[in-house]
Every structure is written in C-alpha cells, then in structure tokens.
C-alpha cells in the first residue's frame, strides 16, 4: 500500500469555480483508479483554493492485479472459417494454443485465455493524470503562450508524488515534480514535498496556505465575528459572500474597516449591495438598534506588517468613492421624484409586440383596479401602486444596481409621501422571485403582483411566445407558479378563466391589434360584429391553453406539497378554475379516501361504473335516463334510490357551502345501500330479463355515478 499526492498549481482560479473543480478532480481520480484496476480501501482527501487543486489518496496498491481474460470459441470440428475467425480475434497463431472445454449439452469447444499482467501504479497514474487534466471541464478555459492545453488560467506546476517518489509525466511541456509554492508574500518556495502529511504541514506552517475550504471558511467566519464583537458590533451573515471570499484568499485575514457615518443616510440595501457586489465586504450591524453600523469587514490575503492600517484605509477610500456615487444617484433620484420618472417608461421596450413598459403599466393599473376588491384592497390605492410600480426602472440608482428594482421604488414613494401600502406594493409586486421567496401578503401588493404577472402571461401567450422544453427565457413558468402561490397562500378567490380574459381586454380591446387576425387596430366601438367575434374567439382559444398551463403549475405545486397526482387529476376533471377550491377538494378527497367509508364508496363506485361501462358498450347507448320510481321493485333498489336522492341533496348543499368534507361524508351514506344492492340477502340482479327493468336499474347506477362525480371524477383515482 502506498499514498498519492497530486497538486495542480495555477494562476488565480475564479472563486466561483473552485469547489466544483475540486469535486470533479476527486471523482475523476477515483474513477480512473477504478478503471485502471487500482482498487482497495482508499482514503481520499481533496483541497482547493485560489491557486491550487489537490487530491490525496491513501491506501493505493503499488500494482494493479493480474487479470485473466477468457474468450469462448466455436465447437471442436467447426468449419475452418469459424475457427480461423476465432483465432484472429483472440490473437492465436495456432489452434493448439486454445484450451478445449467440454459442455454436457454443447460438447467440446475452444476457449482462448489471455492473462493480462498487472501494472505498476506509477505507470497507471502517469497515464491517468494527463488524461484528466487534458479533458477537464471548466466553465471557461483558455490557452496560454504557445501551449495547446486549455485550462482555467495558466497551469504553473504539477506536483505528483507516489510512495514518496515523483511520478514522471509531462503535460503540454510541463513536467511533473515534487515542488510546490507557498503564499505569495508570506510563504517561501518553491520547496520539495514528500507526501500528504509533509504537504499539509509545510504549507499550513511556513507556507502560510490554509489548504481546505472549510479551514478558510471557519477562519473567516470566526475572525469576522471576533473583530465585530471586540468593537461591540454584530456581523451581518452572508453565506454566499462567505463562500466567495473563501475562494479569494489563501491566507485569509479579517480586518474591520470604517466609513463616514454620513453614508448611513443611504438606504441600507444600497450600502450593502455596494459592499457586497463591488468590494466583497461583509456589512456590520449595531446590536442595540439593529441598524447598519458605519463599518465593514474585509478579508485580506496578507498578515499586514502595519497591522492592517493601510488595507483598512485603502478600502475605506474605495468604498467612499462607491458610496459617493450612491449618494449622487440617491439625491438625483429624490430630486426627480417617482411621479416624474413614470412617463419615461415609454422609452423602455417591454416586448416589441406588447409595447413599452409604460403601456404595460397602463394595463397593470386597470387590472389591479379590477382585482382589488377580490383581494380586499382599495381600488384607487391599488391603481396608484400599479402606476408607480415600475417607475424606479428609470432611476439612476436602479440603472447602476438593477437588483434594487422595487426596493428603490419603495424608498422614493415614501420620500414622496405616498401611502405605505403603495410603497410596500412597489417593492413586493415582483415577489415571489423563486420557490424559496415569500409571496406578498398585503392586499394592495397582492393586487399589483397578480396584475403584473397575469398581464405578462397573457401577453406572451397572445404573441405565442410560450416556454418550450427547458427554454423559458421570459421566466413565464415562474410567473405562473407565482400566481398559484399568491392565490393559494393568501386564499384569494379568483376564478382563473375570467382572470385570464380580463388582461386581454385591457391589452387589445381599447385599440384593436394586428396580433389578432381580423381584429384591426381601432377603438372597440368602431369594430365590426364579425371582428368582435374573432376577438372573442381568440381570447377563448388562448385562455383555454393558458389555463392548462396553470393547471400544470398547480399540479406541480400540489405534488411538491405531497398530494397524490391521481387525486389532483380527479378534481381537475371537474373543470373547476378556482385554485383555492381545487386545492381544498384535493385535500378533502385525500382525507376521505383514507377512511373506511371512503374506501368502500370507492369500491361501490367502481362496481357500478364497471357494470355501466360493460352494458353501455353492449347496447351502444348511455343509460342517462330518469329513474322511473314505479319500476323499482326490490327493497334494496328502493332503498338505494332513496339514499341517492338524499345524498345528492345533502352533497349539493354542502358543495354550495364549500364544505367538501361534509359533501363526501354525505355520499359516504351510500355505502350501506350500495352494499345491500349488490351483496345483501335480497341483492338485485341488474341485468333483469325485463328490458325496461334492466334499463331502469342501469339508470339508477348512473344516477349514483353522477352523484359521486359531483365531488371528484373517481374514474381517475388509482387503486
């Protein structure tokens, strides 16, 4: 057994690529050893940082095992051609080199055996590593100088030591060796390394390199908390940033810097974004007030000789210049005011065929007004919020920091003395931006968020720009799922069919559209009757397609919530378009089917449905006639008829009250009569000799099927 240490040392690897590259290298090495026959109880460690990727494998055999390969041939005495072909394939010069084996069924046949001797591990490694390096996948790679190799940045050294000795090979003119280098400023190098322990102790010691991401992450996190605590401050944690800076320093040193407190008059989001995206600083809070403190935490890559004064001062200056820009934008924007920004949206295109953002805002405002009472919002306030919701897109701040769209609008609205609910709606109408993002839950924000998303969806459907396969460049799936979540999580009662038609009217009806064939541009009043009919037809077609898109999103959502997909189908088949009701039904159905009543009603339904299906097929007709009470004869069928009538009435009343559990338990009352009808002491023979009686009994079963069908289409339920 012996150990391998491999290090690929190169110029600074982008932080975002390091972790994946480390995992890929580890996997490639392990896969390569497996394929090369170097197996055993391997212990593997991997490391990555700004200038290196490394893998260490312990417990490798020094040689791969010998392998014997067998190749079956033709029967003894087979035609000469077959024997020749076998010899050629197995590389035999005479058939006597093959072994003859007997099989009780097939008789004697030839077998060629070839023993492949094992190979020394260094030989395998010397082949494997160049292959991995040449075929390595980087998100972006480059060539350097006159080399052919593509790597993320120039590859400077390859350290490859097995069992204390260099494994010799060459990649693009670069020979492997046993040298590495430490930190650029504090380390020395290049120096010799004999194996993993030596590597870790030399680099971690005098080399000043923390080799694992974990060690660096821990040092940064602990260091950042410590410098904050000493100063009576609190670190604003940021996992994404932590991961990034972990990839930006080999020897991270945390330094607390400060800034002019005057900058704190800027919105905290602006300060944090400047710090984070441009400078990769953590922001810091005052634990007493919870507000941002005039400080920042920077992670340096040196242990500065002056204790960090120059680093802090330099960074302070850069941050000040950034924040000066921020102040400049903030003051200019406030001077302009949100109200004055809105008209400039005319210059920004939303989508060629759908006009400018200003056009979109017009439609969203009308829609938000329409939706407001349904979500408990005031019409005028909802319209006001909608009119301002996109205005910050033309602000200088959002031009600089697009991530702050909505956030800045909220501040500018508050500055202008708008209602808080208007301001909050401006910020929140973009939500939810992803599955983990919260949905808006204030009425005005709900109205504007729904209006904005519905307008987008209907618009893109109208111009036939739907998502296909994995392509969804306008994030329409996210928009539809957003609508589903907003509606369900706020229990908004919104029949979708109508909600999808409304945007059409705001979009096209007021001035016609070339997009709808036969419905020319021009005011509604001037449209001809046939043109109006074509318009309605287009609306109907598009809406129904979009509804099924919504149905898929809802199914996906409910499945993610753990609901059975067949129950979702069973409820969808009813043609309901109120998402809240659909969800309630699915939930009630799931609970009901778990009960004994549910299970036996299901059984009764199936029995009735099967008989009906068979008889309908036989007769080629449906049994949907009215049950003739005078023809009911047996006690069991009379009882069933009565039970169905009662259950239907009770279920209908319960459905009207949207009490699905009650509707289902009303139908569960059919269980006894159904069982008695089919299996009781005086059970009924459905296929009576008298054709009229038979038809009447089948009509009775159909009546029951229809009654049960009012809560869900049981034919879609599995099991």
């Amino acid at each position: 057994m012996a150990d391998l240490l491999l290090e690929l040392f190169c110029e600074e690897i982008p932080a975002r690529m390091q972790a994946k590259a480390e995992a890929d290298l580890k996997k490639a090495v392990l896969d390569g050893f497996k394929a090369g026959g170097l197996s055993g109880e391997l212990k593997i460690a991997s490391m990555s940082g700004p200038r290196r990727l490394a893998v260490a494998v312990e417990g490798l055999p020094v040689r791969s095992a010998d392998v014997v390969e067998e190749r079956k041939g033709p029967k003894v005495g087979a035609p000469e051609k077959a024997v020749e072909g076998f010899m050629r394939g197995a590389g035999l010069s005479d058939i006597s080199e093959a072994e003859v084996r007997s099989d009780p069924k097939k008789g004697d046949f030839y077998v060629a055996t070839r023993s492949i001797p094992g190979r020394d591990a260094p030989e395998i490694i010397a082949e494997l590593v160049p292959e991995i390096v040449r075929g390595f996948h980087w998100p972006k790679s480059m060539r350097t100088g006159t080399g052919e190799l593509r790597w993320v940045r120039p590859l400077q050294r390859i350290l490859c030591v097995f069992d204390g000795k260099v494994v010799p090979f060459e990649i693009d003119g670069l020979a492997s060796g046993d040298l590495t280098e430490g930190h650029r400023v504090h380390g020395r190098g290049p120096f010799k390394v004999t194996g993993l322990d030596d590597y870790v102790s030399q680099l971690g010691g005098e080399g000043h390199v923390l080799l694992t991401r974990e060690d660096r992450r821990n040092k940064i996190e602990a260091g950042a908390k410590a410098v904050c605590e000493t100063a009576g401050l609190e670190l604003v944690e940021d996992k994404g940033l932590l991961e990034e800076v972990t990839g930006l320093a080999e020897w991270p040193v945390v330094i607390l810097g400060d800034m002019d407190p005057a900058y704190l008059s800027l919105p905290p989001e602006v300060i944090q974004l400047s710090m984070r995206t441009h400078q990769k600083y953590f922001s810091v809070r005052d634990p007493k007030t919870g507000n941002l403190a005039p400080h920042f935490v920077v992670v340096a890559n040196i242990e500065p000789a002056d204790g960090g004064k120059a680093v802090a001062a330099g960074n302070r200056k850069v941050l000040s210049a950034r924040l000066d820009d921020g102040v400049f934008f903030w003051e200019n924007d406030k001077k302009t005011g949100l109200e004055a920004m809105a008209p400039k949206l005319e210059a920004i295109k939303f989508k060629d065929e759908l006009g400018s953002i200003a056009d979109k805002v017009e439609r969203v405002a009308a829609l938000a007004r329409e939706l407001a009472p349904k979500v408990g919002a005031d019409r005028d306030i909802a319209e006001r919020a909608a009119r301002l919701c996109k205005a910050d897109l033309v602000s200088e701040m959002v031009y600089e920091f697009p991530e702050l769209q909505g956030v800045m609008g909220r501040y500018y609205a508050l500055e202008a003395g708008e209602d808080t609910s208007v301001a909050d709606a401006i910020r929140d109408h973009y939500k939810p931006q992803g599955p983990s993002d919260a949905v808006p839950n204030e009425p005005v924000a709900i109205a504007v968020a729904l209006a904005d998303k519905l307008d987008t969806l209907v618009g893109f459907w109208a111009i036939d720009e739907k998502p296909t396969g994995s392509k969804d460049p306008f994030a329409l799936r996210r928009a539809a799922l957003g609508v589903v979540r907003i509606v369900l999580e706020n229990e908004v009662r919104l029949p979708l069919d109508q909600a999808l038609r409304d945007p059409f009217f705001w979009m096209f009806a007021p001035r016609g559209s070339r997009l709808i064939e036969g419905f020319p541009p021009g005011p509604w009043k001037k449209q001809s009757e046939p043109a109006k009919r074509l318009f309605f037809e287009a609306v109907r077609r598009t809406t129904s397609d979009l509804l099924s898109f919504f149905a898929d999103r809802l199914k996906q959502y409910l499945r993610d919530q753990g609901q059975r997909h067949d129950l979702i189908d069973a409820v969808f088949a009813l043609g309901e378009d109120d998402l809240v009701l659909i969800t309630k039904r699915v939930e009630a159905l799931g609970v009901f089917l778990e009960t004994e009543d549910g299970a036996s009603l299901m059984a009764g339904y199936k029995r009735a449905a099967n008989i009906l299906k068979a008889e309908e097929k036989k007769d080629g007709a449906a049994f949907d006639g009215v049950v003739d009470e005078s023809l009911l004869d047996a006690k069991a069928e009379k009882a069933l008829f009565k039970a169905i009538t009662t259950a239907t009435n009770d279920a209908e009343a319960a459905l009207k009250a949207e009490d699905f559990a009650a509707a289902m338990s009303a139908l569960a009352g059919l269980r006894g009569p159904v069982d008695a009808f089919f299996d009781g002491p005086d059970s009924v023979m459905v296929n009576a000799e008298d054709a009229k009686v038979r038809a009447n009994r089948l009509n009775l079963l159909n009546m029951m099927r229809r009654a049960i069908g009012t809560v869900a289409d049981f034919s879609k339920i599995e099991g």
Binding site: E11, E12, P14, A15, R16, P50, K140, S141, M142, R143, T144, G145, T146, G147, V152, R153, P154, Q156, E181, R184, V185, R188, G189, L248, A249, Q279, Y281, V298, A300, N301, I302, P304, A305, D306, A310, V311, A313, G314, N315, K317, V318, L319, A321, A347
Partner: protein, 299 residues
C-alpha cells in the same frame, strides 16, 4: 519566489510612468510612443490589437491617452476624466512568469505587498468593437482596481496563436493610490521640488473644461455624422485595396466620431446599436485582413 521588496515611492506622476517604462523596457519590450489618434482605450493602439494577431512574436509597452467624451465632467469630478492615460503592455507569446513580472512592476512603483493587499479577481475582458476577448482578472490593491490583466483568446473574431498577455494600468488611478491623493488634479505631475512644480491640474484642468464644453455643447453633430460616413467609406476602400493599417486608422476615426456624436445624446438606442455594428465591421474587417497578411508574411 523570494520575499518581494518594494522600492520607494516615485517622486511624481511622470516618475511613475518612467519607472514602468524602464521596467518593461528591461523585460525586452519596445517602448513605443502613444498612437497619434483619438482612441477610447489603450488596447486599440495597433501595437496591441493588430500585433496580437498572426504568428510573429512581439513585446511592446507604451502610454496611451484615452478619450472618452461621455465621461468628461468639466473638471469638476475628482476621479472622472474625458481624457486620461493608460499604460499598456503586451507580450506575445506571454512568458510563463508574466504574473510575477507584473507583480514586480507594482513593487517597482512603490507598492509594498507586505502592507498592501494585492488580489487577482476574476474579470473576463471583452471588446466587441474589435471582436476581442480574453480571460484574466482585474487586479485589486486594497480593494481598488489598479490594472486589467488579460490573456487574449480572440481578436477580430479570430482565435489568436500564440496567446498574448496584455496589461492595462489606469495611470491616474494608480498614481492617486500611490500618492494618497483624493483629487486627480492634485497629483504631482513632476516632482514637487522641481524648478517649476506642476500638478496634474496645472497641465490638464483647463483642457478638461474646454473639451467637456466641446463634447457636450459645441460639437457640430451634422458635421460629425458626415465625417462618420466619410471615415467608413475610406476604411472600406482601403480594405478593398489591401491596406489594413490605414483601413484600421479610419475605423478608429469612425469610432471616435461615433463617441462624440453619442456624447451629445444625438442617437436613439436602436440607431446606436446600428452605429456600433458599423464600427465593429470596419475594425474587424481590418483586423482580419491584417491577420491574413501576417500569416502570409510569416509563411
């Protein structure tokens, strides 16, 4: 690498430039003079963008004034200028130790790596106008970008081989850092103990004011639009005649003329894209022809 040692601070802005020139001259670079044409970036000097093409080895360094009309601020902004300097280095093929050479150049101008935090942060450079891109970093010193460091991969839409290493130093910004100055106009242009001490403002403030007024108020847009078309025709003609170098000059003239028109806000966003496309076609066309000729000359 042994522990690096930084030199003392240069005495002035010009001393900083002289040190960079001496240093890169010592690395075998031809120290060229600025190109005698208005360009928006030092990369556009033919010594970089054209010489990066073809198989011939090349090393050069030079100061290049960059003119960016829309960035002009009447001399009122302490950091933004319509006319400023870049120091440009190109080594083709890039030597394997270019990163160390670059770091040494920083030590040469007095940046002490034991006190200042120098970092290479991913930043992939591209210049669509000349169809060029490369991988590299922006180099940070205590959080401030002091250089752009790029390994060219394509120029004129063509893969380059050998690969050139390109370094761009923003001279004013670097100097402001080295001298601890907050306002660019306060930089010592020559040494403060000179017979006639001159600040950056003494040399350039009036120029910034007048050029800003020209860029934003007095330029004759009609004339510039005519010039643009004339430059375009001339460049196309020169290319047809097999003369990529003057064809490239006229592409640069067209590019600067466009920047002047753009600074006046005289072009709508859609037209803007079309103009950028026209400049790109000229620059790329010249670059392609030059690459073809270089390959023929080397063969």
């Amino acid at each position: 690498m042994t522990a690096p040692k930084a030199k003392d601070k240069p005495a002035s802005f010009q001393d900083l430039i002289l040190r960079l020139q001496a240093y890169w001259g010592g690395q075998g670079c031809a120290i060229l003079q600025p190109y005698d044409m208005e360009v928006g970036a030092g990369t556009l000097h033919p010594a970089t963008v054209l010489r990066a093409l073809g198989p011939t080895e090349w090393r050069a360094a030079y100061v290049q004034p960059s003119r960016r009309p829309a960035d002009a601020r009447y001399g009122e902004n302490p950091m933004r200028l319509g006319h400023y300097y870049q120091f440009q280095v190109i080594l083709k093929p890039n030597p394997p130790d270019l990163q160390d050479l670059y770091l040494n150049s920083l030590y040469e101008i007095g940046i002490d790596p034991t006190v200042h935090d120098i970092r290479f942060v991913e930043d992939d450079w591209e210049n669509p106008t000349v169809g060029a891109w490369g991988l590299g970093w922006e180099v940070w010193c205590d959080g401030m970008e002091v250089s752009q460091y790029t390994y060219f991969q394509q120029v004129g839409g063509l893969d380059v081989f050998p690969v050139s290493g390109e370094l761009t130093y923003g001279l004013e910004r670097l100097a402001m850092y080295v001298f601890g100055v907050d306002n660019v106009y306060d930089l010592p242009f020559n040494a403060p103990d000179s017979a006639v001490p001159l600040s950056y403002g003494d040399v350039f403030l009036e120029n910034e004011k007048q050029q800003s007024a020209f860029n934003f108020e007095h330029s004759d847009v009609e004339m510039l639009l005519r010039w643009f078309s004339d430059c375009e025709s001339q460049s196309n003609l020169l290319r047809e005649k097999g003369q990529p170098l003057p064809a490239y000059d006229y592409a640069l003239k067209a590019s600067h003329t466009f920047n002047l028109i753009d600074a006046r806000g005289a072009i709508s966003p859609t037209e803007r894209q079309a103009y950028i496309g026209r400049v790109r076609d000229l620059a790329r066309g010249a670059a392609e022809l030059w690459a073809q000729q270089e390959a023929e000359r080397a063969a």
